[in-house]
Amino acid sequence: MNRVPELGARDVTKVYGGTQALRGVDFDAAAGRVTALFGENGAGKSTLMKILAGIESPSTGHVELQGRPTAFRHARDAADAGIAIIHQELSLCPNLSVQDNLFLAREEPGRLFTINRSRQRRAALDVLARLEENLDPSTLVADLRLGQQQVVEIARALLQRAHVLIMDEPTSALSAPEVAVLFKVIRDLTAHGVCVIYVSHHLEEALEIADDVVVLRDGRLVATAEARTVDLGWIVLQMVGRDQESLFPTRDLIIGDEVLAVEDLVVADPHNPDRLAIDGVSFSVRSGEIVGVYGLMGSGRTELIETLAGRLPAASGQVRLDGQPLSRAGVRERIGRGVILVPEDRQRDGLVPTMTVGQNLSLAGLSRFARRALLSRVDESAAVLSMISDVTVKTSGERASIGSLSGGNQQKVVIGKALMTGPRVLLLDEPSRGVDVGAKADVFGLMAEQARRGLAVLFNTSEAEEALHVPDRLLVLSRGRLVGEFEPRSISRELLMSLADGAARRPPTSDGAHS
């Protein structure tokens, strides 16, 4: 590329605790163009963006602005240099008005120490008009739809005269017309020479808006190209890597009796009681079988698996383990009866950061090592060591701190912890989230091994490749309903995605209201 890059990263490495998020990344984004960043969960996209925006500093390497090395100490430094970032999780204060949010920490000075509100209001109206968002600047942000809040974030970046705009999943909460407006705004910005860095899981959408394409995999930058020279298939191939078939080994099935049966399950959305997260779902899982649940954000995949684990209450319906109802049992009782969850967010729900690798592993099955009232250290240590080798955790020992492990090894600890309870049903919520490609293969291998030993395995995923290759049977969830059940290798990726997407991306109703 001959253009002078507006913003770049040189040999950037980032380490969190023991996890390496970026490995020697060289990245360039040009002025007046949209650079789309692709990668699976955990590939390092978010980390790279945070470093470019000055929110995190690189462990080694540096950021370049218009070819000059820069070191941002704070996000504010980057903002002053004209770099704005719009996060996946919006960073607006809901208790303040649109106008107050737009000028937060950059208030227009009035007389003495006051704020010049009328000037702020005029500027706010101007920028909102440019974004075709007909909003009163004195509206509380809390009263806005998510899509409108996103527009407010973009307006704030425009007001700061940002010449680099980093957007993390900007369309995930937008309706189709809102996406169209956003893309028009982005075109308008690039025509004025703004450099846009765009990250999205919606590959098609991102490819539509992109001029340049950059693909990250496993913390490394693996490919760059001009958008018009590539297609979706190429991007997916780069994201997943060439060894994708070896990730998903085939195996012989020894399917046994039905272990877990779900009948007409209904679960209320814990965040929005008027909505049903799961709406009349029935299925079963047999011993020796791996069942996958594929669904997009908001499909109810997490709620389904958390209900089975006893974390969320079911509104109605039946869940049976070996024919016995589980309905009222809580997490602890279900673990005792052999149903245990490997949660999606291992930092938040899976690991105790203050304890060692061994203590984390034995936590759920601790009562097995109690001799009278006291723990038998010898038994515990023996079981922990054998589990460390069973699930192939790479660690300096059972006494190592859990933070010293890489993401993949931490995930193996969480799985090992579940296995130490001697379960009959293993539930896994996005088991490959945030682990690198090698560890992913290990995790799927572990699931297959447990199924071979006769466990009933149920996992959910938002990655189509996993959904098509890992399970023996695939359930597709869309908006809380079961919309399909397949032999996974029998359907195409396109059919799967449109099934899951179809209901979720229906054209918005009259006023674009989107829950």
């Binding site: 040999d11 605790g17 390496q20 105790v352 034995s362």
Partner: protein, 369 residues
């Protein structure tokens, strides 16, 4: 990209790896020093006061000071459990006072109107009832925190006032004098709790040692201890692992309440009198001991050994300053400075640990495969 820049980049990377490895080693040594900081502080205190005063390092004085330490240490061991859970118990000083008042009331005789007699329960019954009162007060704290989701700070602030109020109402603000009992009523022996000297050491010191041992066993050898560390370290993960989180939380407040009641009995017995105001602000000394001992107020991190050292630092500092004749006003100021210093050092240690881990990870990751 030309070959030359590649070579240059590899060299920079090598330098960075070596630097990271050296940094990891340096931070490891610093970490060891930080780890032992409470012990070092105690040793420095003993050395300085021993140098400044001839009477400081005598056996009699050491025993007297340790007796003072014991009262705070008993409170602090209960407090440690609550803090490990990620909570706080502000009510221990008031529970201590209430326990003494209950003992005073019982030893003074209980009028049983139905039978028209006054009953004088024996000392062991009094002790059990007082410990029961403390445990019940802790249960109230636990229920407020677990069932009614009141923040621990607020819940125990409330019970701080309520327990003190009950103590003042029961005693009508008066001190119960002469708790020695009467041989004719067969309720003597209360004084032994605070003034007895089995094998030459005061009972309170024995009690502190036994309690410390019991709490150590509880924390390191039982499932409950592991559950407590897990709950404080990450409550959500603990719950999903099947830890009975609510039971663990309730139980630590009950133990803390019982420890406070035990402290109240020791004080009332040492003075053979019980004042309703006893134990005011003692909760702060207990928290200070736990914090100086290296426990994290966010939960999940802390040891019995550290807490004991913390209690000794606070106790020896206070008594030492008195012995060398420093004014009470300065003592208060110095205590505050010591607490802040302890926490600042603790934050420093955590930062060093994180940086050490990151440096080690960089060094490991950039090594050629």
């Amino acid at each position: 990209m030309t070959v030359d820049t590649n070579v240059a980049r590899t060299e920079t990377a090598d330098a960075e790896v070596q630097e990271a490895a050296a940094r990891a080693r340096r931070l490891f040594v610093l970490n060891l020093v930080f780890e032992a900081r409470a012990f070092i502080a105690l040793a420095v205190l003993i050395a300085v006061f021993g140098f400044l005063s001839d009477s400081f390092l005598t056996v009699t004085n050491l025993i007297t000071m340790t007796k003072h330490v014991a009262i705070n240490a008993v409170l602090a061991l209960g407090m440690l459990l609550v803090i490990l859970k990620g909570g706080i118990d502000l009510s221990v000083g008031s529970i201590l006072g209430l326990s003494g008042v209950v003992a005073g009331e019982l030893l003074g005789g209980v009028r049983l109107d139905i039978f028209g007699v006054v009953a004088y329960p024996p000392v062991w019954v009094v002790v059990i009832i007082c410990l029961g009162v403390g445990t019940a007060a802790g249960l109230v704290n636990g229920i407020l925190v677990t069932r009614f989701k009141v923040a621990p700070f607020i819940a125990t602030l409330g019970t701080l006032y309520i327990a003190r109020g009950i103590a003042l109402l029961m005693s009508n603000g008066q001190t119960y004098p002469r708790l020695g009992g009467d041989p004719s009523l067969d309720n003597t022996g209360f004084g032994w709790i605070g003034t007895g000297r089995p094998l030459g050491l005061p009972t309170s010191i024995w009690f502190m040692m036994v309690l410390a041992l019991a709490v150590t066993l509880l924390l390191t050898k039982t499932p409950f201890g592991r559950w407590l560390y897990a709950t404080g370290g990450n409550e959500r993960a603990a719950e999903l692992s099947g830890v009975p989180v609510l039971r663990v939380k309730t139980l630590v407040y009950m133990i803390s309440g019982a420890c406070a009641a035990a402290s109240g009995l020791i004080i009332a017995s040492e003075l053979t009198s019980a004042a309703p105001q006893a134990g005011e602000t003692f909760e702060l000394n207990a928290i200070a001991a736990v914090v100086i001992g290296g426990a994290a107020l966010s939960g999940g991190r802390g040891t019995v050994r550290g807490t004991l050292v913390g209690a000794f630092v606070i106790g020896f500092l206070a008594d030492g300053l008195v012995i060398v004749g420093v004014s009470t006003f300065w003592q208060i100021l110095i205590k505050g400075a010591v607490i802040i210093l302890a926490v600042v050092l603790d934050q420093g240690q955590q930062r060093f640990q994180r940086r050490g881990a990151a440096a080690a990870a960089v060094a490991a990751s950039r090594r050629p495969d």
